[in-house]
């Protein structure tokens, strides 16, 4: 009996030892491993386009999709991979977290591709500020989303003789008129990033682009605590009154569905809402009107997905460079963004295949670029590092969900930002 036990133990120990010395799986020559959270229907199809393109160039594509939580789960997985010294070839990242990874020194250098292909002349400068670190490209931008859109149900507006509001004052009048007729003015989901998407629009709409730059991008304490910010919170309080009582925790796509079904007249949301509109068999720009959020005409807030390229060593680098080049190619940018609802991250892609809202986005971004009003969105991680962004989220969402006074909220904003920096 003892002998059997002993030999079992020996076998087990040997097995363990064997498992320990088994070599790490050899990397295929010329393969890329890509971590992303584009797992829903249209997005997954869009990534498939890039995958096919790569495979036609003889590069194997290892997909590493991590679903859930708007990339939260993916970020945790990525951190584990990188910490263990085995980064993927590329990972989908948003602006500020891209910068954080670059600052940690984990990203590679794409100069070899970026220079001959002339990325500098086709990528808008505010995007370059994220895609480049220390003077060289570390990532390839694949799309530009615009969060400052107002989506309006055309039928409701027509029946009531209204037009989509262009300023916040008009917005309040329109909303009150709708409310008087028993129509829910605004569809909204009570989640901190949705509250902040609205907040972005109000800051830009009431304060103007210079104020947005000072308060949100530069987090200047004086601007954060100013009278203008108090007015912004006053408007937020008014908006709270235009939302149905049952909005807490609602997902953004359910709010979009309310506008689609005519249960609510408007929604303030980014252009990813188009995906829902199209899926419901309606046409963006016709059934559901798209106009810049009140007061934000002439400005363009952006939210861009980047493929961050990790420092992977010589052996995996050639495939990585092929991928960077493919991701930046006009044909991929066009196909991908048609599927995704956003617009290409390079400005030389023709817009004729895009819908009305996409065309307007492309025209507006050019204008905004010239005026210097193309700015990163706070709600979508292109204005402040995660710690400060989170602190601002807390203040905005707490004000929206309580009866805190506007002055107190502005003061809380100054304090919270100072504590998080």
């Amino acid at each position: 009996m003892k002998r059997i036990l002993l030999s079992t133990v020996c076998v087990a120990v040997l097995g363990l030892a064997a498992a320990a010395v088994e070599p790490a799986q050899a990397q295929d020559q010329g393969s890329v491993e890509v971590l992303h959270w584009w797992t829903s229907g249209g997005e997954a199809a869009a990534v498939g386009v890039l995958k096919q393109d790569m495979e036609s160039k003889g590069v194997a594509w290892q997909d590493m999709p991590v679903a859930g939580g708007a990339g939260e789960a993916a970020m945790t997985a990525l951190r584990a991979r990188v910490t263990s010294g085995n980064p993927p070839t590329a990972a989908q990242l948003l602006g500020m977290s891209l910068r954080a990874w670059a600052e940690e020194g984990y990203l590679g250098d794409l100069t070899e591709v970026a220079e001959p292909e002339g990325w500098d002349s086709v990528i808008p400068e505010p995007l370059q500020a994220f895609a480049k670190y220390d003077g060289h490209y570390v990532a390839a931008p694949v799309n530009i989303h615009r969060p400052n859109w107002l989506w309006s149900n055309a039928k409701i507006f027509e029946e009531n003789g209204l037009t989509p509001p262009k300023t916040w004052d008009e917005f309040n009048q329109v909303a009150e008129a709708l409310q008087a007729k028993g129509i829910q003015p605004l569809a909204h989901g009570g989640q901190n990033w949705q509250d902040t998407t609205v907040f972005d629009d109000v800051v830009l709409g009431i304060g103007g682009p210079e104020f947005y730059q000072k308060a949100i991008i530069e987090a200047d304490p004086e601007a954060l605590g100013s009278d203008t910010m108090v007015k912004v919170f006053d408007q937020m309080r008014k908006i709270r009154g235009f939302v149905d009582p049952n909005f807490s925790g609602r997902d953004w796509n359910l709010a979009t569905a309310m506008v689609l079904n005519g249960e609510a007249a408007m929604q303030l949301m980014g252009d990813w809402a188009k995906g829902e509109i199209i899926a419901a068999g309606k046409t963006p720009g016709v059934d559901i009107l798209c106009t810049p959020a009140p007061g934000t005409e002439g400005s363009f807030l952006f939210n861009t997905d980047f493929f961050a390229m990790f420092d992977v060593g010589e052996e995996r680098r050639p495939a990585q460079l092929i991928m960077a080049s493919a991701a930046m190619s006009p044909s991929f940018q066009e196909t991908f963004n048609l599927a995704k609802g956003s617009i290409p991250a390079r400005t030389d892609v023709p817009g004729d295949k895009f819908d009305e809202c996409g065309k307007q986005s492309m025209a507006d971004i050019k204008a905004a670029q010239e005026k210097g009003t193309l700015m990163g969105s706070l709600a979508h991680g292109h204005a402040q590092p995660p710690a400060v962004q989170g602190a601002m989220f807390d203040v905005v969402t707490n004000h929206f969900n309580s009866d805190q006074s506007s002055a107190d909220a502005a003061k809380a904003l100054v304090d919270a930002v100072a504590a998080a920096q």
Partner: protein, 299 residues
């Protein structure tokens, strides 16, 4: 001579064998549990952001933690939630156990029904209750549909009351398990004592308050420890039920720790909150373990 030596060798091996077999798991627990606990505590004294960085900043992170309004809400909530959860689940569990102990018909069926929620994960529990309590979907709409138009139950979307919906869902889930604990305790009581009390003419409620409930003391302790650690650990229930909202009204220390560490790149601050949670748990569990082990040694 040689034979005795071989015998001694065998005996030594036999003595060493259990230790040898246990050592891998012992090693894993030491490193994987206690090692990383220590690591978290160390991290809480550093200025770590996205990755661990060993730049020590003393108690800075703790100062930041306790001046953070979101943490304030989280701590207040864990007292409300933990307190009510433990008290209500214990009362309800004991009540159900006493009722089932009345030799009722179809006892097995009732036991299963009451225990069933425990078989559901917190996520499922959270989603079910989110639907039930959502004013536009669940209870409120149902009752209004029956014709009671003025009926209103909006706790889920009211920042002041939302934490109590977490209590409702949590108690619903755990009460059956607590019932099973108490039922086992009730069945373990010596029936002769009860018969003797009855023969002396003691009324039923006196038998419960004077004999049965005092005899259940160890069960109360076990129930308390089980409930307390579930309360402090509860994370997924809140995530599924309210996502921490409205605003951050239902934030708990565990959800605070996760968001701070993993989505806000504030690893130092997250580690500080984790350490505070660890200390709180230790303050509950260690005295319990101490008293339990002391009993064991005596017995």
């Amino acid at each position: 001579m040689a034979a005795t030596e071989r015998m001694a060798g065998k005996r030594r091996l036999a003595n060493a064998l259990p230790l040898f077999v246990l050592s891998p798991s012992l090693l894993m627990v030491t490193i994987g549990v206690y090692g990383f606990m220590l690591f978290s505590v160390i991290l809480s004294f550093t200025g770590s952001k996205m990755f661990p960085r060993f730049v020590f900043t003393g108690f800075d992170q703790y100062e930041r933690l306790f001046s953070n309004p979101r943490w304030g809400v989280a701590v207040q909530n864990i007292f409300i939630f933990g307190g009510l959860y433990i008290v209500l689940a214990t009362i309800l569990g004991l009540g159900l156990a006493i009722l089932i102990d009345q030799r009722i018909r179809a006892e097995g069926a009732f036991r299963t029904i009451f225990l069933y929620p425990m078989a559901l994960s917190f996520i499922v529990t959270g989603v079910i209750w989110q639907w039930l309590l959502n004013p536009g979907l669940g209870l409120e709409r149902l009752v209004q549909g029956w014709g009671w138009e003025s009926f209103s139950f909006k706790w889920l979307v009211d920042p002041q009351m939302a934490i109590y919906t977490v209590v409702i869902a949590g108690v619903w889930q755990v009460a059956g398990f607590v019932m099973a604990l108490f039922l086992a305790g009730l069945r373990g009581i010596n029936t002769e004592i009860l018969s003797a009390a009855r023969m002396d003419g003691a009324p039923t409620h006196k038998i419960y308050t004077r004999i049965i409930i005092p005899a259940l003391r160890p069960v109360f302790l076990t129930a308390f420890v089980v409930e307390a650690h579930l309360a402090i650990k509860s994370y997924d229930l809140v995530v599924a039920l309210t996502k921490g909202g409205p605003g951050f009204a239902t934030e708990l220390p565990s959800t605070f720790m996760y968001t701070t560490t993993f989505t806000r790149n504030e690893m130092g601050l997250g580690a500080a909150s984790a350490t505070v949670m660890l200390m709180t748990l230790a303050a509950i569990i260690i005295p319990y373990l101490y008293s339990e082990l002391r009993h064991e040694r005596r017995g």
